[in-house]
């Protein structure tokens, strides 16, 4: 199954042969819980080092882990959002390896019986094509501690020791493993954005890459188009934004293409992304061949999901962002960018949906929501849904503009005014005579006054400097306190100046 219809996936010509890129992505996402996965220590970012630790997350002998029910439910919800299967029986395993920021010398993870299996992540690419990527599984594990390589005096180069903070050790971490369905850098970013907006909407995670609550590794290889067998892959790590994911993929594609072009072979290895250099570099692995010796964790009981529990969790999934994006694009005819922007701004999709239900004019509503309302939200720090401009008020404004009762300038002013002061736009327009003047007679009176007061502009216009028309229209608008129909004003000005026959 070729899951992705990706127009961005242009073949790469290498030695006269068309190659394609094949990518799978592993994403580690910290779950939004109050406490850690197996103990009651706080799960918070940025606490004082080594203050949220206890015998369980420090791996003290005899301490027993107990799984966090909420973390398990959040992960299952994440899987259900993408149509994953929830096996009736799941278990935790120990993944054995030594690392100083992993106190037990094993990580509790899931090997062969993860909490979810399968599923599909659909997404839209910026160019309007639709793509999707199959999920292999989403499993639950615990995060490791955090080490820094600088000593307290700030030295990194030549430092002989690392400093470890175990606050992060034991934080619930879900690992989303994708199938190798991704065929372009834009598709990789669209996939990650689809995961992010779903996890945020479900309250599964904050998904802050800058705080490390989402970390992803990209497995990337090239192969001749039409070849079944995969090429040798490299694993890219250390990207700290979606933009660096895109850049790292482009850089690694170019590096592999150059090696193949020169008749070389790709070495299977882990490569780190260097943001400043804009390239990937080989990372020395702590162990050449991994032998994790997974075995079931005897300290933990299996997790068994009754069909009823799964049904309850499935029913709790409402307002999933992908379904909304699809509806905004297919039914409302918004652009992909508009749909993504509305869904990715907290609370805006609810506002847009409620307003559109009243206006029945999706495009006009989206223009106001993404234009004036988003600008005001940024300026005032108040989201649209909490401003005094209720959806009924916006609907009145859209209706007034559609009926040409007010022009766009008046609409803009009204939005700003009602945003902070409240009130009914329709009543304000009626009370203050802000209705658009579309009466030729009334506008002709204004035109005559403007022409009389601006003899120089009139002379310039007649001398061929037609650019002054904009100024003259502006003057008519000003005289009318913004209520004149600008199209009509320009038409009457041209007529008065003698070229209205155009």
């Amino acid at each position: 199954m070729s899951a992705t219809l990706d127009a961005a996936a242009a073949p790469i010509a290498i030695g006269g042969v068309a190659y394609e890129v094949v990518m799978g992505i592993e994403c580690h996402v910290e779950l939004k819980t109050e406490t850690k996965m197996f103990c009651g220590c706080r799960n918070v970012f940025g606490a004082e080092p080594n203050t949220n630790v206890c015998p369980v997350c420090l791996g003290m002998p005899g301490a027993l882990p107990v799984p966090n029910r909420l973390a398990i439910e959040l992960l299952v919800k994440a899987g259900l959002a993408f149509g994953s299967e929830i096996p009736a029986y799941s278990k935790f395993d120990r993944k054995n390896y030594f690392y100083p920021d992993m106190p037990k010398d094993y990580q509790i993870s899931q090997f062969d019986m993860p909490l979810t299996q399968g599923g599909v992540v659909p997404f839209w690419l910026p160019d309007g094509t639709h793509g999707s990527c199959r999920l292999t599984r989403i499993h639950l594990e615990e995060d490791t501690g955090k080490s820094s390589h600088a000593s307290r005096d700030g030295r990194i180069a030549g430092s002989t020791h690392s400093l470890v903070d175990f606050n992060r050790a034991g934080v619930p971490l879900m690992e989303c493993v994708s199938e190798p369905d991704i065929r372009s850098a834009p598709a990789a970013v669209a996939y990650l954005e689809a995961l992010k907006r779903t996890f945020v909407a479900l309250g599964v995670s904050d998904v802050k890459m800058e705080e490390g609550s989402l970390r992803c590794d990209v497995n990337l290889s090239l192969r001749p188009v039409g070849q079944e067998e995969y090429g040798t892959k490299t694993e890219i790590k250390n990207m700290n934004s979606f933009n660096s994911v895109r850049r790292a993929i482009e850089s690694e594609m170019a590096r592999q293409a150059e090696i193949l072009e020169n008749g070389g072979r790709i070495v299977q290895e882990t490569r780190g992304w260097d943001e400043a250099a804009g390239t990937t570099h080989s990372m020395r692995s702590k162990e050449q061949a991994h032998d994790y010796r997974y075995f079931p964790d005897p300290d933990l009981t299996p997790i068994e999901f009754a069909p009823l529990d799964v049904t309850r969790l499935r029913e709790s999934l409402v307002g999933l962002p992908q379904a909304r994006i699809d509806r905004f694009v297919s039914d409302d005819k918004l652009s992909i960018a508009q749909a993504h922007q509305i869904v990715d701004t907290p609370g805006l999709a609810d506002y847009y949906d409620a307003a559109t239900a009243l206006t029945e004019k999706p495009q006009a509503t989206a223009n106001f929501v993404l234009g004036d309302l988003s600008r005001l939200a940024n300026e005032t720090g108040v989201p649209a849904g909490e401003s005094r401009l209720g959806v009924e008020s916006l609907a009145e404004i859209v209706a007034l503009v559609e009926a040409k009762t007010i022009n766009s300038k008046t609409a803009k002013d009204l939005i700003a005014r009602v945003w902070s002061d409240g009130g009914s736009p329709r009543e304000i327009v009626a009370a203050e005579g802000l209705g658009q003047v579309s009466d030729s007679g009334a506008i002709d009176t204004l035109v005559a006054a403007v022409l009389a007061a601006n003899e120089k502009s009139v002379a310039d216009y007649r001398a061929g400097k037609t650019k002054v028309m904009g100024f003259l229209v502006g003057q008519v608008m000003k005289q009318s306190r913004g209520t004149a129909n600008p199209t009509l004003a320009e038409e009457r000005l041209r007529a008065a100046l003698g070229d209205g026959a155009e």
Binding site: E34, N68, L70
Partner: protein, 98 residues
């Protein structure tokens, strides 16, 4: 399983143990004896016993997402072989892993 089948040097490497050749031989024999003992299980009639990953007849032992007090930092770092301020100090970590 006979002791000759166990790559003691490899097991020691995974466990970060530096063994002398004499120790490799001695532990190889001991591990072999242990595995022979476990091998007796193979003689049991288990055709009617289902596969399991757990020997405790329980499932879904979980806790609610409720905060419990953590340890005092001085207590925590008191057990550290080496410390640097509020941190554990460990031999330099090279590379990265998930």
């Amino acid at each position: 399983m006979a002791s000759g089948d166990i790559d003691v040097a490899y097991v020691a490497k995974l466990a970060r143990l530096a063994l002398t050749p004499a120790e490799v031989e001695r532990f190889g024999a001991q591990l072999g004896a242990l595995l022979e003992h476990v091998d007796r299980l193979a003689a049991l009639p288990v055709a009617d016993v289902g596969a399991t990953a757990q020997v405790i007849a329980q499932s879904n032992v979980m806790r609610d997402d409720v905060v419990r007090p953590s340890l005092d930092r001085e207590t925590v770092l008191g057990g550290a072989p080496e410390r640097d301020g509020a941190y554990f100090r460990v031999p330099r970590i090279i590379g990265e892993d998930a």
